[in-house]
Each structure stands twice: as structure tokens, then as C-alpha cells.
């Protein structure tokens, strides 16, 4: 047997280093490139921007919107996750899938759908509903309904992983209510913390819905520096600096809330967990759970209703945009998974470098996409990297930078499911990290890692903000096409294009879920 090319003890740090370098290249280099260039040009502008009262006023508004949406999403997602995850609600799996689906659609499409419901001439609209929709409260509710499925899903999956013996013991001591509030909900705390982090981050960086509903938010201020006449990337970068503080606080809060526990088995456990019997409350709970579960689908139904004859025009307007969406999404999700395996493992095991790279991914997730886009242009639009910049590869890079946190976090949770002693035993037997990864970790976590890939892919597929600034000429993804046609295209065609996006997301979700379920069988 020849000598190994790399000493075994260095395999893990080298692999983590390589993954970290890739993550840095896609997520950090663009920001640093833009920052260096812009700060050198305009320090006075940067100071003025950060010193303006309006900057902090909008920052506060965005924090308030993100906090309100997070609270509302928890209010919907927690009980619903409990009911659909563990209780004997009729048809709970179907309800859970239906409820989760709008999460994988661009939020601005859902806002457009709500406009067709509650706008002044909407299906259920009048002056009062329109005024409520176009307000901070309306924006908070639209976003909360769009993102509550994050909490519902995480709580439901976490509760399915709770050891049934704990529940049985609690049921002997008290009823279902006591079991739910004293045992199940406290055990789902890490899932709730992660759900809150994801919802807060998504709302804080959301631009499309607040702009559509005319609510002033911080990302719009950043966007105004890049979309206005006096292109001012330096000020945009300066405005991104407070986000470093926000992401640090969020990470600390989430880690404090989650403690050392990991939250979910992501369906890794094949045993059947008996449902919590609701007794005489079952009928009412089923009705309430189904009503809450399908509510986020209302705007999708409104879009389908509005599309009507628009479907006939689709071949003329769709072009290659669905293929562009799929290709860039598949590449970004695959790249993210390659990075997420070593980084997620390091984060789950508390290894050096894991937490830092995790924080970098969360920072990129929170950074306004317009800043990331401008940075990517600066970093990749060079003769040497022309092949990337002039192709869909640049969209894949943008998506990977923006959504790495999703894949990485999921991978970390997946790895945390298996006790470290499996790896320790293999290491004692002489297996290096690559061997442990290939023979133990990836095989036993294949399904969980598949879920990490799928989740990342679905978030990439719904993206608008990262792609819209840098898509190569003539190769726009479907979300971009809908957005550029939205204001002036025939409304029925725009609604039909939106329905195509719904079908695309549904198709990827269905194929992914099928593949994951087949692996379990």
C-alpha cells in the first residue's frame, strides 16, 4: 500500500479549508472587492450615509417588520407544526405539503396574488381591504403567511423526531395539552430558533414585497444607491455594514436558544411515531389546521384565476427562461452541497473554522442582494473570468453565495443527528476523514443531505433579487422574466407566467421528494 498523498490527520482541515476558500470566493470576495473600490473613492459619502437619521429610521422599520413577521410566523407555525407534525389531525401529511408549497414561490408573486384578492377590484376587495393591504400591517401579514411554513415545517419535522417514550410518560402524568406544552414544544426549541432566524433573515433582506406594497424598508434604501441615477456603490456597501451586527446578534441569539441540542432527524428515522390523540378536539383541530394550512395558497389560486386565457399565450412569452432557472439552480444547489458537507460537519462537531464559515454564509444571506450583485459584477466581469460572467454560471455563483446558508445549516443539522462516537470508532480503526466521510457519514446521511440539496435548490429557484442584477444577456431566469414583464405585460400573461413558476417549483419539489422517499423505501 503506497503512502497517502495527504497525511490522514490533515484531510479534514484541508477539505474544510478548500470548502472555506470556495465559500469565501463566491460570498466574501465580491463584497470586499466592491467595498475596497467604493470606500477608496468616497469616504465622505460613506460617513454622511451612516450618519443620516433617515438611515437609522429605515433600519428600525426593517427590524420592526422582520420582528413582527417572525412573531406572526411563529404564532401560525408553532401550533400548526404541532398539529400537523404530531397530532392525529386527518390528512395531516397532505395539509403539510400544501402548506409548505408557497414557501418555494417568489414572495412578490404571492403579494401580486393577494392584490388580486384584496386590491380594490380584487375578488374580495374594497377600499378598506386595499388600504390595509398597502400598509406595513398588510406587508407583515403577506410576508408572515408566505414564510410561516418555514416554522411549521421545522417544528413538524423536529417533533416527529422526539422519542415517543418521553411522550408516553407525559401522557400518563397529564393530558395531551400538558404533553404538548410541557414536553413537545420545549423539545422543539432549537427548531423554533432556527425557524425564527431564517424568517427574520428572509424578511430583513426582502425588497420585492415591501416595494410592491409601498412600505419603506432598509434594503430599498440600499437599492436606491445602486438603482438610481447617481450610482453609488460605496454608500450601498456602507449601508450594508450594520448588517454585520445584525447577523452576529441573530446567530448568537439562535445559538443561545438552540443550546447544544440539534433539532431534527429530517426524516432519517424510519420508525413510525404514534400520533398524539386529540380526542373530542380532533374535529375542530382538523378544521383549524386545514384552514391555516391552505390559507397561504389563496394568492396562488387568485393568480390561476387571473391567468385565464393567458395560458394560450405562454409559448410566445416563456422562451428558455424555465431552462435557465433550472440549470442555474441545479448548479448552485450542487455547488452549495459540496461546500456544505465539510463546513456543515465542522459546524455540527464544533470544529475550528466551522462557526466562522457558518457566520459568513449567514452574513451573505442577510446582505441585500443588490449589493451582492454589484460586487459580483466587480469581481467576475474581467477578461480572465469572461466564461463565467457571460454565462449562466454567474447566476449560479450569485445563487450559491446568497443561499449557501440554507444548505450549510441543513447539512449541519443532519450531521448533528449521528453521535460522534461512530466517527471516533472509525478513526481509532485508522480511517482518515475522507474515508469516514465516504463510508460512514455520507451513506448514513444521504437522505438528509439530499434534503439539504433540495431545500437549497427550491430557494434558488424562487430567487429574483440575486439574479436580476447580473443575469447574462438573453438568458434570464423565469422569475426575472415575470418581474420585467410584470408592470406592462398583459396581466393574464403575467399571471400565466407566474403559474408556470408555480408548476416549475412544484415539479422540482415533487421529483425531489419522490427521490428522497424512494431512498427510504
Amino acid at each position: 500500500m503506497g503512502r497517502a498523498l495527504v497525511p490522514r490527520r490533515l484531510e479534514q482541515p484541508l477539505l474544510l479549508g478548500a470548502a472555506g476558500a470556495l465559500l469565501t470566493m463566491v460570498a466574501l470576495v465580491p463584497l470586499l472587492a466592491l467595498a475596497g473600490e467604493a470606500f477608496a473613492a468616497n469616504l465622505a459619502g460613506v460617513a454622511r450615509t451612516l450618519g443620516a437619521a433617515r438611515t437609522w429610521e429605515l433600519f428600525g422599520s426593517s427590524l420592526a417588520l422582520a420582528a413582527s413577521v417572525t412573531v406572526l410566523a411563529l404564532l401560525v407555525g408553532l401550533p400548526l407544526g404541532l398539529l400537523l407534525g404530531r397530532a392525529d389531525v386527518s390528512g395531516r401529511n397532505t395539509a403539510l405539503w400544501l402548506h409548505a408549497f408557497p414557501l418555494f414561490l417568489p414572495p412578490f408573486l404571492l403579494a401580486l396574488g393577494w392584490f388580486h384578492v384584496f386590491g380594490r377590484t380584487g375578488v374580495l376587495g374594497n377600499a378598506g381591504t386595499a388600504a390595509a393591504l398597502f400598509s406595513p400591517i398588510g406587508a407583515a401579514i403577506v410576508l408572515a403567511l408566505a414564510l410561516a411554513p418555514v416554522v411549521t415545517l421545522l417544528v413538524a419535522v423536529a417533533l416527529q423526531a422526539v422519542d415517543p417514550s418521553l411522550e408516553e410518560a407525559a401522557l400518563i402524568a397529564g393530558g395531551p395539552w400538558r404533553t404538548a406544552t410541557r414536553i413537545l414544544l420545549p423539545l422543539s426549541r432549537p427548531a423554533v430558533a432556527l425557524g425564527a432566524l431564517v424568517v427574520f433573515s428572509l424578511v430583513f433582506s426582502e425588497l420585492g414585497v415591501p416595494m410592491f406594497l409601498r412600505v419603506g424598508v432598509y434594503p430599498a434604501m440600499v437599492f436606491a444607491r445602486l438603482g438610481g441615477v447617481d450610482y453609488a456603490p460605496g454608500e450601498a456597501v456602507a449601508l450594508s455594514l450594520p448588517l454585520v451586527a445584525v447577523s452576529t446578534v441573530l446567530l448568537l441569539a439562535e445559538r443561545r436558544a438552540a443550546g447544544r441540542r440539534s433539532f431534527a432527524a429530517l426524516g432519517l428515522r424510519t420508525r413510525e411515531v404514534p400520533a398524539l390523540a386529540l380526542g373530542r378536539w380532533r374535529g375542530a383541530a382538523t378544521g383549524a389546521a386545514w384552514a391555516l394550512a391552505v390559507l397561504p395558497l389563496a394568492p396562488v389560486a387568485a393568480l390561476a384565476w387571473r391567468a385565464g386565457t393567458g395560458f394560450r399565450e405562454l409559448p410566445r412569452w416563456l422562451g428558455a427562461s424555465p431552462v435557465n432557472s433550472l440549470v442555474s439552480t441545479l448548479a448552485a444547489a450542487t455547488f452549495t452541497l459540496l461546500v456544505a458537507v465539510p463546513v456543515g460537519h465542522a459546524a455540527a462537531r464544533g470544529l475550528r473554522g466551522g462557526a466562522g464559515l457558518d457566520a459568513l454564509a449567514v452574513l451573505a444571506f442577510l446582505t441585500p442582494a443588490s449589493v451582492l450583485g454589484a460586487g459580483l459584477i466587480g469581481a467576475w466581469n474581467r477578461p480572465a473570468t469572461e466564461a463565467v460572467y457571460a454565462s449562466l454560471a454567474v447566476v449560479a455563483v450569485a445563487l450559491a453565495a446568497r443561499y449557501a446558508a440554507i444548505g450549510l445549516r441543513t447539512a449541519a443539522v443532519v450531521f448533528a443527528q449521528s453521535p460522534p462516537h461512530l466517527e471516533e470508532a472509525a478513526a481509532v480503526s485508522g480511517a482518515g476523514f475522507l474515508r469516514r466521510l465516504g463510508r460512514i457519514l455520507i451513506p448514513i446521511h444521504a437522505r438528509g443531505l439530499g434534503a439539504a440539496w433540495l431545500l437549497t435548490a427550491l430557494f434558488c429557484l424562487r430567487d429574483l433579487e440575486a439574479a436580476v442584477l447580473i443575469y447574462p444577456a438573453g438568458s434570464e431566469p423565469l422569475t426575472v422574466r415575470i418581474f420585467t414583464l410584470e408592470a406592462n405585460g398583459p396581466p393574464a400573461v403575467v399571471a400565466a407566467l407566474a403559474c408556470s413558476q408555480v408548476a416549475l417549483s412544484a415539479g422540482v419539489l415533487a421529483l425531489g421528494a419522490l427521490a428522497l422517499l424512494r431512498r427510504r423505501a
Partner: protein, 339 residues
């Protein structure tokens, strides 16, 4: 497991091929790259027709309605180190001045530009005007009786319509040009006094002109400012909308010709040919017929119900001065818009 690996490998290979197929290395095939701030719904069919006739692949980037004219403009600026776009098809003639100042324009006197009136093209060929839009008042007939029809942009500040009026965000799009043109006519301070009065009057600041059209058409507001094409679409959709050419007995209505600009992109020869086509009577005729633009060329007939430039009182503007005002006003406009 093996089957999964094979499927995964095939998917990865297909993805990589697909990634680079979208562009890859700078293509040697005949192609031209155009960045357009003309509405995609109108511009794309014209570009496709050119592609069909010439056999040259046209790769386009379109603006979103929210950043109309500035999104792709800023992308051209951001890409200055390695220019990608050969042609900028602008919704107005002012933004090209910003590119001229940054040295990103190749002046080109297209032979197709000869019939365009001199007021609507640069003498050095840095930009050439095409079919124009005007800034109009869209009025909901159900909410505004004929006797109270607004006649001037200043009516937006009339307390009679408090909370019932809309404009698009002046930080972006053609509204930026409009307020800059008003500043050249009134002076900066009078402009901002007017904008403050609008705010006091509860103006709804929409994300785009298209959104203003939607607000007026659905009766969310009584009237608002938008462009000729927005007005035409609303009328075509059967919305109860009256179109008013504002200030016909005073300052005049602002006219914004589209502008075709040759940039410093990699396909100069194909870029020139596309510029020639976009300035042809055929391309202008399609914008006039399908997007209800006002024709500039005498050899292009006006669409039914749409006036020719010259048939209504146009505001007297120097586009170069408007461009200067637009840059100068931007920080104050952002402050006004709360951004």
C-alpha cells in the same frame, strides 16, 4: 446506489454544459448584446424580428419597471472595465448623457437617422431619438367628473384630491427625468416646494409608472402621472381612464423620445447594424402602433387616438441640462422619498 451515482453524474454534466451554453467565452458567432429600458413587452418582439431577418443572435437585458432606465444604465457603468453591451436602447434621451460623460459611448451617425428632427438627436451621433412618449395625467372618469378634470401637473397638489393622487417614485424611471425637467423650468427650490406640497396632499408614491396606471385604473386613486404607453395600455384594457396632456396652456407637456446609443461593447459592427434597424421607420412604426408612442419621423404615421409630436404643446427642454439636473437632484429626491 450505482444507479443514483450515474444519474447524479449525468445531471451534473448536463448542468455544467447548460451553464456555459448560455454564453461561455465571448462568442465568435454573429451576435449583438443590447441593454434595453424600453418595456420588454414592446421591445422584445422588435428585437426578435431583427434576429429573424438578419440571422444575428440578439441577446438582451431588460430593465425592471421599478428601475426603468437606471437599472441597465448602472449595469453598463458597473461593467465599464469590460463592457458587455453593444447597444443601449433607452426609454429617454437624458440617461445616455451620463454614459457619454463616462466615455462609454461610441458616437455613430446612423444613415437611418436623417429624417429624425434635429431637436431629437445629438449632432455628434452620441444618441439618436426614436418614437417618443409624453408625461400624461391618467384620470379615473368614475372618480373625477368632467367639470373637475385636472389640466396641469400642479393639480396633483390641489387639496381637493388629497390622498387620491399618485406618482411613481422620482428616484427611479421617467419620473426622475420629469422632475429634473421641471427643475430646469421652475428652479430647484420651486420644484421641491411642489414635491413637499404633493407629500402634504397625501400623494401615493408607487413603485413604477405601471403601478400608477394600475392604481388609477382600479380606482385606488383619482389620477396620477404616467407615460403615454401606460395610458394606451389602460385604455386598451378598457379601464375608465381619461388621458390629459397637461399644461397645454402653459409650460407644455414633457416629451421623451426613446434614444438609441452605440456603446463600446465587443460587437461594434453588429451593434451599428442594430442601431440602424432600431432607427428605421419599421421599428419606430411598431413602437407607434403597438406601444402608442408618438412618431418623430415624418414617414411614420401616428396610431389612431395618438397625437404626433408637434400636434400638442411640448415643453421646451434642453436634454443636456435635464441630465445635469437629474444628477444634481438625486440626493434631495432620495431624501424626499425617504430613501
Amino acid at each position: 446506489m450505482r444507479r443514483w451515482r450515474a444519474a447524479g453524474g449525468a445531471a451534473l454534466a448536463a448542468t455544467l454544459l447548460g451553464l456555459l451554453a448560455g454564453g461561455g467565452c465571448r462568442s465568435k458567432a454573429r451576435e449583438v448584446v443590447v441593454y434595453a429600458s424600453i418595456d420588454q413587452v414592446f421591445a422584445e418582439p422588435i428585437l426578435k424580428e431583427y434576429e429573424r431577418r438578419s440571422g444575428v443572435k440578439v441577446r438582451a437585458v431588460f430593465d425592471t419597471e421599478e428601475t426603468k432606465s437606471t437599472g441597465v444604465l448602472n449595469r453598463i457603468v458597473a461593467e465599464a472595465k469590460s463592457p458587455q453591451a453593444d447597444v443601449f436602447w433607452s426609454g429617454d434621451p437624458v440617461r445616455p448623457f451620463l454614459l457619454v460623460r463616462k466615455g462609454l459611448v461610441q458616437p455613430y451617425r446612423s444613415p437611418a437617422a436623417a429624417p429624425v428632427p434635429a431637436a431629437y438627436r445629438a449632432q455628434d451621433g452620441s444618441w439618436t431619438g426614436g418614437a417618443a412618449r409624453a408625461r400624461l395625467l391618467l384620470v379615473n372618469r368614475k372618480l373625477v367628473p368632467a367639470s373637475e378634470m385636472p389640466r396641469s401637473v400642479r393639480d396633483l397638489a390641489n387639496p381637493r384630491w388629497k390622498g387620491e393622487i399618485a406618482i411613481a417614485n422620482p428616484v427611479f424611471g421617467t419620473t426622475t427625468m420629469h422632475v429634473a425637467a421641471l427643475a430646469t423650468a421652475w428652479g430647484d427650490e420651486e420644484l421641491f416646494a411642489f414635491l413637499r406640497a404633493l407629500k402634504d396632499n397625501g400623494v401615493r408614491v408607487a413603485s413604477s409608472n405601471g403601478e400608477v396606471k394600475r392604481l388609477v385604473a382600479t380606482g385606488e386613486v383619482a389620477f396620477g402621472l404616467a407615460d403615454t404607453d401606460d395610458a394606451a395600455e389602460a385604455v386598451k384594457d378598457g379601464a375608465p381612464i381619461e388621458v390629459v396632456y397637461p399644461d397645454q396652456d402653459g409650460l407644455g407637456t414633457l416629451v421623451m423620445p426613446t434614444a438609441v446609443v452605440l456603446l463600446t461593447g465587443p460587437h461594434a459592427e453588429e451593434g451599428r447594424k442594430l442601431v440602424d434597424y432600431l432607427l428605421s421607420p419599421e421599428a419606430e412604426g411598431r413602437l407607434v402602433a403597438e406601444a402608442a408612442h408618438h412618431p418623430l419621423r415624418p414617414d411614420v404615421p401616428a396610431a389612431p387616438g395618438v397625437k404626433r409630436v408637434g400636434e400638442f404643446r411640448a415643453m421646451a427642454v434642453e436634454y443636456a441640462k435635464v441630465a445635469e439636473a437629474m444628477e444634481r437632484l438625486q440626493p434631495r429626491l432620495r431624501e424626499w422619498a425617504g430613501l
